[in-house]
Symmetry: C2
Subunit: 588 residues, 2 copies
């Protein structure tokens, strides 16, 4: 069944949870709602018409390495060409370098669409965007002049080269080397793994951003520098020159995202690849973190995307597949399984989790925009702190539910869900990378507890929980019968989050390991509280403006009464589970 | 890393949760602990030495259909021959037909081992056992004489042919036909799908059990009969005769269990396959349910099996893989990830969930044995009711956690987990069929609420919860510091189960759809309560007999303080979530 972009759901989340209209009214974002809606609708068409039809065939064919050349699946190069020509790769890029200067909120909404339609494809622009961000923020005038315009236009793609076989999450131990040349450039040598779109023939050049270590660099993460290493050298006239000393030495055989080539990259097999320093020597990780934070949100959006796609397919199947008697059955006839209560629970879970994660990601995008565009430096700083706080939730909660929703999608199909041709299994396979890459979800949880809760002495999270609580009170005050027990359940959830937060802030001081033991259930609790409140804001808005939107009330109520109910138990696990988590001997 | 059968964990569950020693002492089971231990150890060796080495290669090669013949992967035929020759296929079969007459508890323990080592292989004896059970219970003297000995010896395998394209869960609508012949046999025609090991060349014959409908049969499930249809006809002398009119017309291309051929079977393409009635005309479903109930427990055991295998691999990896600093790191050295608190939470969750599900399955097997072997008919009847109650929990809870644990296993491997060669991804793929086949887990939950709770006017579940509560009181009374808050958490869990049960019993009378809406969270709650209590019994025993076993105390405490904490929230969902589950318009 073909993909249909959920334009209404995206617009609803942008308006209600992320408050886009207010940002436009305040002049912080220079666009209007009609433009946003038009862009998202057009993106939806492109996703449905160009990317979605290649998703399944791309999975079956996969990318292949033949005689040192990576071949993407049939149709990929043409689709990429159309994508770049239509300007989809440049939505959020600065107008100075040929971009469209649209806000991050719109860019992330479009990114959801590419990744729903075709996650194996969507990864390529996702990584390119990260490389653009880094060059834009820290590249020299030469690098900006020479590389940015063609990256923004989509003529060239970009990659991020971090991981080495022995250094995955722990970048401090990476070994790739960079030696300074007399002309100010560097010779790069080393092997990188898990490089997404590390090589392909879709564009005439590829811009690699590579972490490496100078000979005299201090050990650990303070001795890492970032370099730009093009696949082909480029003259000051912008003309493509000789091939650089970098090759793809192998492709991984993966569980999913088969179309996306995951490359082993070798730099300097013939003496050293030519590279240019980005930012300062030994400060590469700072630049990389800028890219990684944006990429973490983008990966969270991929979680939303795969959940949306799995939900659409499951709902369609449940409406068509007939098994068993239901209220609408006549005589011995079977009714559609969508009418069975247990199938409804599954579908409601899929829809509610997806919309909640979407709201969390779009709120994070909103705060990114405010942190860049607001006039008041204090407002910008507060928004930047909120981005820092929410990024691990956006990444980990959304990708966890991406996997869960994709798994429910398989289940709704019954035996057909286990048959690859049905398509549900591909989402289940593709989704599984999301909790792993761009920092595993465990690392996100640790980041949340150890670095984000202490921000501004704990005031950032305290203020945020205060905002959530305000919505709980609005729900209670509205006193609408169709809200059911939403106020009670959401209040319990936010109270649980508040108590768990207080416990972790204290425990981080006295027993950091015990705090870390609670990080993952705490992040889940945080996601349930945020997601539940954002859906409730959508429900409040839907009833306030009288425009209907009863489905948003129903989703918010379902989330509060069926999913957020897990919150108090998660708090118990956080505050009472550490001793038994840490006590048992597990080492060999 | 090679599989090592968890003999200690299995024996511990058999002794403490399933009370095997008491059954032996009471003379209900005619064996001794040394024999049981020896059988399980030997099974462990066979699994590790013969089946485990073929698991990965079997997945890569898969079974193939070439010119109408199904080819299993390299090594399969030889391994199956060794399996049969060693008598592993006949553990629980009656001695009358050449079996070894061992209790179901031992058979299920061995079945865990085959499926941990190689689930694609383990399915073949699993299905054969179901066919043996049906023929043993309801076959004519001719069928028993002609087919049983070779099925028990493993010379021939068996299949279950239920599903048709339009009739998966709803067997009442199946269309396969049977016409009675003048000699008392039947001609069978029709197409069946999803037939596990429906064809292969490992044995010289295959015995298909096939559901079909007589021309004058009443509509629905009361018009279904069961037939035995051999691949090759067999003379009264037991000699294999002509090929029967049944072929494999295709193999499914599946997400996992690639080695296990999932066949489209065509019966009667040349006029009708010869079949023999099993049991009575139009009463086939009754016989099939005997097989299916046993198979449901066996599938639950597959959930335990895949969880165990995923846990072993993840633990081994976590001990070897070094990333980040830990307590044992020196200077800038990285420590093994098993020492990180968040990884420990993952590993503890895997271990605790696996041992809890194992206990639930082995208790269900225990009650099966008592229902067959106890002298007192009242004891037998009570045990049969307990089997009925626990079978949906054993099947659904164990297979849900099988998927969850396999997914955590991928996560612990980081990026390597997404690379197929690592092996963790295979478990994630293989596990996904388990919540689907032998009745989806949604159907198990509905069965639990609609058919099992009302057993004996609700007394069966009431008594069962009473037993769980008794353990909570023992834990409280023991007052051991190393139990932490186990008593409190388990009591909360059993109280939640009790309240949810009372609500569902009432609601089934007044609003069945609302009760059904809570079935899935209720089943999860039931599994947490049962699993937590069984682990607690293990912990109590480990402290009582002074034999050490501190790991069982640690697991029980972890389960209570970290996983059973979800119970009160699940109860809230069951009792308060139905309206919002059923309220939203989802139909097209």
């Amino acid at each position: 069944m073909p993909y249909v972009a959920p334009v209404d759901d995206i617009m609803h989340a942008l308006k209600t949870a992320a408050g886009l209209e207010a940002l436009i009214a305040d002049g912080i974002i220079a666009t209007d709602m009609d433009t946003v809606s038009a862009v998202i609708s057009e993106a939806g068409k492109f996703g449905a018409e160009v990317l979605d039809p290649l998703n399944w065939s791309g999975d079956r064919q996969g990318s292949k390495l033949v005689d040192g050349v990576v071949h993407t699946p049939a149709g990929w190069k043409e689709a990429y060409g159309q994508f770049a020509a239509a300007g989809w790769g440049s939505l959020p890029c600065s107008e100075e370098h040929g971009g469209q200067g649209l806000p991050q909120m719109v860019s992330m909404a479009a990114s959801e669409i590419w990744n729903s339609a075709n996650m194996g494809f969507g990864l390529c622009p996702l990584l390119t965007q990260g490389a653009i961000d880094a060059v834009e923020a820290h590249g020299s005038a030469f690098l900006k002049h020479t590389f940015l315009p063609k990256m923004v236009s989509g003529e060239w793609t970009g990659t991020m080269n971090l991981t080495e076989p022995h250094a995955g999450s722990d970048l401090g131990h990476l070994r790739a080397k960079a030696e300074k040349q007399s002309d100010g450039t560097y010779k790069i040598t080393g092997t990188k793994i898990f490089i997404t779109y590390g090589d392909h023939e879709m564009t005439e050049n590829i811009v690699h951003l590579v972490l490496a270590r100078l000979p005299d660099a201090p050990p650990g993460t303070r001795g890492i520098s970032l370099f730009l290493v093009p696949k082909y050298m480029v003259g000051t006239d912008g003309v493509r020159g000789a091939r650089n000393d970098v090759i793809c030495a192998g492709l991984e055989h993966k569980l999913g995202i088969h179309a996306s080539p995951t490359c082993v990259m070798k730099f300097g097999e013939k003496g050293g690849a030519n590279g240019y320093l980005i930012g300062k020597e030994n400060r590469g990780l700072n630049v990389m973190f800028i890219m990684m934070n944006a990429a973490r949100l983008a990966v969270g959006v991929q979680g939303v995307a795969i959940a949306e796609r799995a939900t659409q397919r499951a709902l369609e199947y449940a409406r068509e597949r007939k098994q068993g008697r239901t209220a609408s059955s006549k005589g011995h006839e079977m009714g559609p399984i969508v009418e069975h209560a247990d199938v409804r629970r599954n579908l409601m879970t899929m829809k509610a989790m997806t919309q909640a994660a979407r709201a969390i990601c779009l709120v994070t995008a909103r705060e990114t925009d405010v942190s860049r565009l607001a006039k008041d430096p204090a407002v910008r700083a507060a928004a930047a702190n909120k981005v820092a706080l929410l990024t691990p939730i956006a990444k980990a909660f959304s990708t966890d539910i991406g996997c869960e929703v994709a798994s429910i999608g398989v289940q709704i199909h019954g035996g057909m869900g286990f048959v690859e041709e049905t398509g549900a299994a591909q989402y289940y396979r593709d989704a599984r990378i999301l909790p792993i890459y761009e920092g595993t979800n465990g690392i996100q949880a640790i980041d949340l507890v150890s670095r984000k809760l202490p921000l501004d002495g704990g005031k950032v999270v305290e203020n945020y929980i205060g905002e959530l609580w305000k919505t709980c009170e609005e729900v209670r005050a509205s006193n609408r019968p169709e809200f059911g027990r939403m106020a009670e359940r959401l209040s319990d959830t936010v109270i649980a989050l508040s108590e768990a937060t207080r416990y972790l802030m204290q425990t981080m001081q006295t027993n950091p390991d015990a705090a870390m033991a609670g990080a993952t259930p705490y992040l889940r609790l945080f996601g349930l509280a945020s997601g539940g409140v954002y859906l409730a804001r959508g429900a409040l808005a839907a009833t306030r403006d009288g425009s209907g939107g009863s489905q948003y009330v129903a989703l918010a109520r379902f989330f509060a009464e069926n999913l957020a109910t897990a919150a108090p138990g998660l708090k118990e696990t956080v505050v009472g589970g550490a001793d038994s988590t840490l006590g048992m001997a597990l080492s060999a």
